[in-house]
């Protein structure tokens, strides 16, 4: 029954998407109101079918309906219901089905948000979204069909999803966040395609486009960092980022999307870089498809990837279509992409935005080349190589530091042109703050050049952000008097985008410092402790107090009780564990982490003796790692503020008045 229902709704979705694609193109071309209405109807049909199909699958997973192929593959009576639910995205077929659901939700949101608005652009936009939707519905209907009916084999063991996915609560939120980021890029891409097809790239369309990009950008930011956090809490190697192909796959569209968000502002304000903005927009979507290809084709070797599957070639063809259509469209519309404005000076915010964009593209290329290079090497020379941390760090550290530096310089300079004296005045205070912060870091013992450089640029950029947020408040307060609070509220109301952007920048500055410190000053030691024995690592005294074992529904847990004492801070018991899952040959470790403001103590069990006589531990001390997660939270918060739809009348009036306070960063 579930099989039939699921397959039925996917086929309805596929039919709606294909029909909507054709009707939408026609409606876009003729601007027919009736055609648009039909397209919207078909888009609703597609969206709801995807949502319903996912509901059917979730139901089947919860019922442990082993007549459904996907449930037969990942379902199990041994796992609790929330794991059964999460299994939806734990293997290839389910993850593509889930992709469909997210696209469906985005389509619904888009339809609601554009009701009675932007009608001239909607036909082409919906047609493009539905083209992508048709592709995924086709995958779910055929090559990656999760709903196929199977005859249950008596006695066949059902072991449940990959144990690594059962190991931590973060795994429940990390993939949806990432998917919301990935899939959401479809909407701005489609809006861009529509603008090119229509031949209109006005600010009236670019503004909502930018907001539709901010939404998945925020999700992607959260998704990437949650993924790192999950790796840190679960994998037990003490770090959160390894430049693994699949991590890179999520980072690539983030980089190009960030480049786009900045280029789009330059286009909006100065009428330049239009073609460039479009290239970044198209690349971002293509990179999300590339990332999906990477995880699902079996071509890349990664800890995260799903197993080899026949859908790889199909994805590659889709990626090819996306790239070729993008290139041809941009080529055909190249005359529309001529700049309307021009650059006046290299000492200006405009110029800094251009350099910033070049850096983001350089960063994207660095990561892309490093990720794809092993394929190239194997194809040409027949050797297996892996591109490791040294390559990525060598290039990404200087680029990252330069980006943080520009994040300060850009907003500090005015649009258009600045005189040398103005520039000096604008940069003096933030530079001093940067120097101050660097001295503080040096005082704590930092000597590494790049760490100090990161402190300087981050302090500099953060100072600019704070000043940029305070300046409008001061201006309003001086002009109108009243309470400081009301001035702040007024400044915020008028310059929401600016505040959002600057809060994101503060998050980035914090992130840069936290990454530099946690990456550079991590220490690790391996120790073996007999029962009752103690060892001193850093400020901590660790004592092995014995082994403990218990059974949970889906796993057997063996834990080492390690007493941790820090002078002046009391004591605690940490329990690094080994979890043994049904049908899994080797146990999977779960590290124990004790987080303090300044540093994490991270214990990873290498071996826990069966008799509890000894334990082998890897002990990491990870300074400032906690702040990486906090920084991501700040970035997402800023993104939310920037994205929140303005009350339109307010913005219109304020802009018309030309108040400098509304000049967003």
């Amino acid at each position: 029954m579930n099989s039939l229902l699921g397959q039925g709704s996917i086929l309805i979705g596929l039919a709606c998407a294909m029909a909507g694609l054709l009707v939408g193109l026609q409606a876009g071309r003729t601007r027919s109101a009736v055609g648009l209405k039909q397209t919207r109807g078909l888009a609703y049909g597609f969206a709801w079918s995807m949502v319903v199909a996912n509901a059917v699958m979730i139901n089947a997973l919860l019922q442990r309906d082993f007549t459904v192929r996907y449930v037969d593959q990942v379902g199990s009576h041994d796992v609790p219901n929330y794991i059964a639910f999460v299994s939806l995205w734990s293997a290839l077929e389910g993850s593509i089905l889930f992709w469909g659901a997210i696209l469906g939700l985005y389509v619904l949101a888009f339809l609601v948000a554009t009701r009675n608005r932007h009608e001239d652009m909607q036909g082409y936009t919906l047609a493009t979204i539905l083209a992508v939707g048709a592709f995924f519905a086709f995958l779910i209907a055929g090559p990656a069909d999760p709903f196929g009916a199977v005859t249950p084999i008596a006695g066949k063991p059902h072991v449940g999803p990959n144990p690594l996915l059962q190991n931590h609560v973060l795994m429940i939120i990390h993939p949806p966040m990432l998917y919301l980021g990935y899939v959401g890029m479809t909407i701005p891409f489609a809006m861009g395609v529509a603008a090119l097809l229509r031949g209109r790239l006005g600010a009236g369309w670019m503004r909502p486009l930018r907001r539709w990009m901010l939404l998945p950008w925020g999700f992607l930011t959260a998704g990437i960092v949650l993924g790192g956090w999950w790796a840190y809490e679960v994998l037990g190697w003490g770090g959160y980022w390894a430049w693994d192909p699949v991590e890179n796959a999520s980072f690539l569209p983030w980089l190009s999307a960030t480049g786009f968000l900045h280029a789009a502002q330059l286009q909006e304000r100065r009428g330049v870089l239009k073609g460039w903005t479009m290239v970044l927009l198209m690349s971002t979507f293509a990179l999300t498809i590339l990332g999906t290809f990477m995880t699902r084709s079996g071509v890349f070797n990664s800890v995260h990837s799903f197993t080899q599957s026949p859908i790889g070639p199909i994805f590659l063809v889709f990626l090819g279509v996306v790239l070729v259509v993008s290139v041809v469209l941009i080529g055909l519309r190249v005359h529309l992409l001529e700049p309307e404005g021009e650059f006046h000076s290299v000492v200006s915010r405009d110029a800094m935005f251009v350099v910033n964009n070049l850096l983001f593209v350089a960063f994207t290329m660095t990561v892309l080349i490093g990720t794809v290079f092993p394929l190239l090497a194997e194809a040409i020379r027949g050797v297996k190589i892996s591109v490791g941390e040294p390559y990525f760090n060598l290039l990404s550290v200087p680029i990252g530091v330069a980006i943080v530096f520009l994040m300060g310089v850009g907003p500090a300079l005015p649009w258009g042109r600045a005189t040398p004296a103005e520039a000096r005045r604008a940069l003096a205070m933030p530079s001093a703050v940067g120097v101050g912060l660097t001295l503080v870091a040096a005082g704590f013992g930092a000597r590494n050049f790049w760490v100090l450089a990161t402190f300087w640029t981050s302090g500099f950029a953060a100072a600019v952000s704070f000043r940029d947020m305070a300046a409008p408040v001061q201006a309003i307060h001086r002009r109108r008097g009243g309470s400081l609070g009301s001035s702040m509220a007024e400044a915020y109301r008028r310059g929401r985008r600016r505040y959002g952007g600057q809060i994101v920048h503060l998050g980035v500055a914090l992130m840069a410092v936290s990454i530099a410190v946690s990456w550079t000053y991590q220490t690790s030691t391996e120790i073996v402790l007999d029962k009752g024995e103690s060892a001193v690592v850093g400020d901590y005294t660790l004592t092995f107090e014995g082994r403990e074992q218990w059974q949970e529904p889906h796993r057997q847990v063996v834990a080492a009780n390690v007493k941790v004492v820090r002078p002046g801070a009391g004591e605690a018991i940490l329990q690094p564990r080994m979890n043994r899952y049904t049908g899994q040959m080797s146990p999977i470790g779960t590290p124990a982490v004790k987080t303090r403001i300044g540093e994490d103590l991270y214990l990873s069990a290498m071996q826990i003796d069966d008799a509890g006589e000894f334990v082998g531990l890897r002990v990491f001390i990870n300074p400032m790692i906690y702040w990486v997660w906090v920084a991501a939270g700040v970035m997402v918060f800023g993104c939310l503020i920037a994205m929140w739809p303005p009350k339109e009348r307010h913005t219109a009036v304020a802009s018309a008045a030309g108040d400098p306070a509304v000049e967003a960063a």
Binding site: G155, P157, V159, L197, G199, L290, F293, S297, G298, V299, F300, N301, Q308, G312, P313, L316, L319, G320, L323, V324, S326, V327, V328, L329, I330, G331, L332, R333, V334, H335, V372, P374, L375, L376, E378, A379, K384, T582, G583, M585
Partner: protein
């Protein structure tokens, strides 16, 4: 896209041509990736003497040594009852062991498993036409560098590992490798 008209301007051709020149090689590189399996890493054991073992047989609990299997080519298949693809692989092995008869010694090594489960599994999946040994504690699997079951090692008559296969071994691969040794 009617604005472009019949002929494309030089600028349009330049952008489209340049763009495709950038994009197509990348697609080719990605496409070439399908020919390779990133997980395939040649076993360092190939060309070296197979690690020795002495394991109890499933049928009678009597210890069986590697040495007792030598003198003819051998197929060592690591498997488990909880492994998803083993039921698919097993009939091929049974058939091959019947086909080669006395020419080749087949042996299964059960990994991380329990005796009753093993017996029930064999009854269900084609019987035990060749000996199954029980790898208590998984030491033999570790010595052979087993990464996941099923994995199959082929030994020549001197006991040197000539081939390692990860995952269910296709009958034609098994036949080709054994025919090479006979």
């Amino acid at each position: 896209m009617s604005a472009a008209g019949p002929g494309l301007s030089k600028q349009q051709l330049l952008v489209i041509g340049g763009g495709l020149l950038l994009v197509l090689p990348m697609l080719v590189v990605l496409g070439m990736g399908f020919g390779f399996d990133p997980h395939k890493i040649d076993s360092p054991l190939v060309g070296l003497p197979a690690p020795v073992f002495e394991l109890p047989a499933l049928s009678d609990q009597q210890p069986v040594k590697l040495a007792s299997l030598q003198g003819k080519p051998a197929v060592i298949n690591f498997w488990a009852t909880w492994c998803a693809s083993c039921p698919m692989e097993h009939p091929g092995l049974v058939q091959a062991s019947r086909y080669y008869g006395e020419q080749v010694q087949f042996v299964g090594i059960a990994y991380e498993d329990k005796r009753p489960a093993l017996k029930a599994w064999l009854n269900r999946n084609g019987g035990d036409v060749y000996p199954t040994l029980v790898d208590v504690g998984g030491k033999t699997a570790i010595a052979y560098g087993v990464y996941g079951v099923p994995e199959t090692y082929i030994l020549d008559e001197a006991g040197t590992v000539t081939y390692k296969h990860v995952g269910p071994i296709p009958p034609q691969v098994l036949k080709a490798e054994l025919d090479r040794l006979l």
